[in-house]
Subunit: 414 residues, 2 copies
Amino acid sequence: MTNLKEQNVQNELADLRVEKELDMDTERLARAALSRLMEPQDAAGLALVQLAGATDALRIATGQVAAGPELERGITGLLADSGSAGWAGLAAALKRWQPRLPDLAPERDLATMARLGGRLIIPGDELWPAQLADLGIQEPICLWWRGQEQQLPGADKSIALVGSRDSTSYGAAVTGDLAYALGQRGFTVVSGGAYGIDAHAHRAALAGGSSAVPTIAVMAGGVDRFYPSGNDDLLRAVANQGAVLAEVPPGSAPTRYRFLQRNRLIAALSSVTVVVEARWRSGALNTAHHAETLGRAVGAVPGSVHSANSAGCHRLLRDGGAVCVTDAAEVAELASPSGTALPDQRTAEAAVQDGLTLEDLILLDALPLRSTASVEKLSAVAGLGQDSVRAGLGRLGLLGLAVSERGGWKRGKA
Amino acid sequence: MTNLKEQNVQNELADLRVEKELDMDTERLARAALSRLMEPQDAAGLALVQLAGATDALRIATGQVAAGPELERGITGLLADSGSAGWAGLAAALKRWQPRLPDLAPERDLATMARLGGRLIIPGDELWPAQLADLGIQEPICLWWRGQEQQLPGADKSIALVGSRDSTSYGAAVTGDLAYALGQRGFTVVSGGAYGIDAHAHRAALAGGSSAVPTIAVMAGGVDRFYPSGNDDLLRAVANQGAVLAEVPPGSAPTRYRFLQRNRLIAALSSVTVVVEARWRSGALNTAHHAETLGRAVGAVPGSVHSANSAGCHRLLRDGGAVCVTDAAEVAELASPSGTALPDQRTAEAAVQDGLTLEDLILLDALPLRSTASVEKLSAVAGLGQDSVRAGLGRLGLLGLAVSERGGWKRGKA
């Protein structure tokens, strides 16, 4: 009897598990389809998903089900609340999605990913990076992921290195140093897979990386093709050893709009966004602003005031949002501001006279380097009473800063 | 009768003027003497002058008059209040001053200054720089001034440029550009007369200066000799066209202690202190800290992270006290933060697509560059309804971003 009861409970639990898996499969398919219908950050679409859930959102988006006035009002309210004035309501959205309905084939897209050794992850998955929830309604509805299945690092272990495509040799050197050293410290380096700073960041992170996921490339287009094609080998290596992610489905072109939206994902995955080189106007600044909006730390690498490729970094420093960072230790400090990763102490450069009182410093200045001087002479030169000079010489003598020779005093070698 | 009365009033006024002048002469002689007895920032001495006045302070310092217990208590209290724990009270100070009493010859020092075409100014003089009052009890008791008699600029027209003696060619170039351009804008460039950044600052200010006092050198030693001797010609030119100042009397050696104290005067004379190049440990950082303490703005010029000569500047930027400055306009902005001197607008770099809505930006991305596309095609590519595409094409057409050709649409040249 007890066994039978237990068996029933087990069966019921198994049924629930299967049901949940089936639900997740339906949800996954729905989100895969929605990611093809909707551009990233389609505010009306995201509002629809939030209010109706992905599965019903897809039914509404494809015209199988009507939304109804209550849902439409809800979406309009949500759009107003989130300040998405640039987007019209649901009716306009349905028209916008309509031309793409014939392209919908989520099973085919998922099969493509599986063939490429990848997968689709959605919010609620164990593999979903928890830090993306900080994006709120701007959280992507799914991520297409090319690379080995493994836990992606949390924000505290992820650092974004971004910058110009037309980097200088200075920018290349600094990016390489930073990415390599951050990799050695166990950080994952997040970047955008582009030429220039991005490529240097991925490459050095692959070389220096000590974590399971040394580097992540977040793409503006589909992960089935590597873009730009000149980075094909590099991005293949990133996929093999790390991860290549995108919120748009396979086959999507990397449009300018998608680049701008992609930047928010780079910022949201990382606890720190470091701009290594950027012109006065640069996409890297857009990533930095996303990081600021999310309350994440922003670092900027200084450079020559004569280099146009550092003007954007200096702009970030001037505007007050960015912290000046010059090495990996200073970047790591931003990732754990509680002080667990203090930068290397520069004690070697401390001078022995730092702790002296004002009177002893004056006396030290008065001591001759080669010849010697009497206490009376020192008293006159330093403008100190003879008692003070005698006491000061005692203290300086203990520090090796003063030595007595044939009844006089001179500077020590300390 | 009325004339007689008027005559009496005139005589009385003249007497008062003579009396005041005599008082000022006595005060001037007393301060000249005190500046030889006391090191800069001798806290006990400054407290004595504040409580007893310069004339009586000299009488006490020279042992002509005893201070009395009330004054001694006052000095001890003032020292405690101003946190000058490094300095003992009056008794120790009297011992400290004693060895220098035989050197006192204030008339000779004033004659020396007159012979060099200079003078001594004291607080209360019309020529005294009013901004030095911000130093409080640390205000110098006098200034020895070599150069033409003329009004020195207020803090709002004075900018300090400081930095390493062993400047790089980068630091030299930036300093020259800044000093010249600030001079052209009518600012006085204040610096320390040393090799390196200081010398470049003075030189370029002399070349570019458009104000009556193009540059001021504040010396750590006496202004009778120019130090370092390699800058003799330069400092002679600064004295001829601008001003060379020191708080120590003629004949005083430039000791390390006096350098550190001198830095507070550079900071106090200027509304902004800009560190152009400085090592991790540098006297220029000391000047910056003085400026911060006074609530004056601090600017730091960024440079290569590989240059040890920029490490001090980056340290100032990281510590949060300094603003990143890359040209004279940004420095001038710090001098008048109310916005009267805004930096040059970089509108030329603004792109025409900056004001577009998200939908129009997506549509712009979808427009082919060479071939043309139909509204239907654009609707599918952009993921926008055909109505939206038509409306968007109208808006982009007005901006010159879209042009229609043979029934299709392509990118405009705007």
